[in-house]
Subunit: 337 residues, 2 copies
Amino acid sequence: MPVRPPIAGLDLPGVYLLRSMEDSFAVHTHLEAQAPRSAVIIGGGYIGLEMADALTHRGLSVTVVEHGASVLKNFDTSLGQHVAAELRRHGVQVVSGVGIEDIVQEGAQLRVGGSEGFSTSTDLVLVGVGVQPVTDLAQSAGVTLGVRNAIRVSRAMETNVPNTYAAGDCVETWHHLLGRPTYLPLGTTAHKQGRIAGENAVGGCREFAGTLGTQVVKVFELAAARTGLRDTQAVEAGFDPLTVESTYWDHKVYYPGAHELRIRVTGDRKTGRLLGAQMLGYWHGEVAKRIDVFATALFQGMCIDDLNALDLSYTPPLSSPWDPVQMSAQAWVKQNR
Amino acid sequence: MPVRPPIAGLDLPGVYLLRSMEDSFAVHTHLEAQAPRSAVIIGGGYIGLEMADALTHRGLSVTVVEHGASVLKNFDTSLGQHVAAELRRHGVQVVSGVGIEDIVQEGAQLRVGGSEGFSTSTDLVLVGVGVQPVTDLAQSAGVTLGVRNAIRVSRAMETNVPNTYAAGDCVETWHHLLGRPTYLPLGTTAHKQGRIAGENAVGGCREFAGTLGTQVVKVFELAAARTGLRDTQAVEAGFDPLTVESTYWDHKVYYPGAHELRIRVTGDRKTGRLLGAQMLGYWHGEVAKRIDVFATALFQGMCIDDLNALDLSYTPPLSSPWDPVQMSAQAWVKQNR
């Protein structure tokens, strides 16, 4: 279920917490019936930014308020800042470093107030600040909970109650690189876990290989994608990380429509092992599946230098003879010398 | 240099063999100066189809004549037929199973004649039927030649003449899966070989990991991509191949702009090992970098079923929670039971 932040006025009409299909139908009905002209979105994560994109396309004037220093907090700030610029370029007001404190009815509008003297009037408020597992029923049935009160499961997706399996946003997620359970509620992971839980529940013998935290989000004309560890996570996991950012064209610049593609590669200084990657580029620049080349290499424990041996596809409208994935690997290796 | 097929009249004005920068400048000058209204392209490989796309965009009426049964012969026919349909949808005449025999001047035009009674008049003829290595100089210097008279090189890119290295379209190419040299002149491979030859020439110690035959070509609004072995090659290499074709949306169909994505997966029946993949879809449907997920998995020797464990990126405008790569893997596994 959605995290319900400590903000006064969350139950006022025109305020919606984003999580379920019902939430989205309710927002849609509100948009149709009330024709709001402005919206404040609390939370600059991928759900908040997707809503900012969608509502701007519907003609609303949108403000995104993010508690942290930058939107898309699970990307490094240098990329988050470009995402913020893309939002502003499309007329979205981006406010960061502000915690919302209260929402009050003010005539036909809502007044949203927060730290740093933030105050604005709006027609609609959407709240997307994360989700938490709903595990009361499981707990009352004797199921052990783990990270962030998610259901503790084995790699076979079995709970501590024999023959009882669990999967999805209510369970812990094994991290392929960290080698420990995390809480990472994503649809891709839920599908994989569900398949394994189902197969094992009928007598199968599968183990969940674990997540790499791979994600992509489209924000207006940009796609931001990531996989694996960032510096701070890598240090926690005992690595000595180096992250190198470099920028390329997403295809040969002599072919029309080339856009900049920023890649941040994280690897271990000592072993040269790939630990993670982040990418930001034009949403038709094959960002999503380029991060998947990194994700596949990461899954297989490849070293960054070995990415240069991969036989990746090239045609001038879509890539370069050295794919940007490989050029970013070369930049990392050069800087690690 | 370009293969010069046994066709009478190749030296007539208005007939161009495609290979070098000079060839392309000459064609460009001809287009500007003569303003031809029609063109016959001999050869339905990727160069021929890229020219068909480009000349159609310039307003010429284009005919592609292919000797074989289908265009894009290094793809399976079921995909080649969709590419032919895409060419026809954009007004290109596609003639297959015809070998061109002669070109004769006929007033201001060229008459192109071939087998099966083929005969047509045109303003411009382009010939793109492959390339061959130019190795006379090397041979006269005592360098041993190999496959198709390309220069024989070790995995270190060294010729039989000590301290003499060679790379690019003039050399044999080691095949990562076949475990033997082939002739596969591609820009991606040339770049990798050149880097290794250069590094070793100055005292380095690298080996070329080999090609997988990864390729992508854009033809109008389609991209066709492939990597690894097709059935016939797999049989030659001692495998027991099964190829399964399946079709998906390239992203969630509820998000605007979804297109069909056809995937053919080839694997070994006994071991379940991935041997190759071919893909055809909308050129902005991330076809090129999706084939690269297969290429990365192939390079690492993965089994098809294990593709389902990969943590690939998902957002509704760009993929599905199970990426089409994974759904095609599931289709293969199901059919191999």
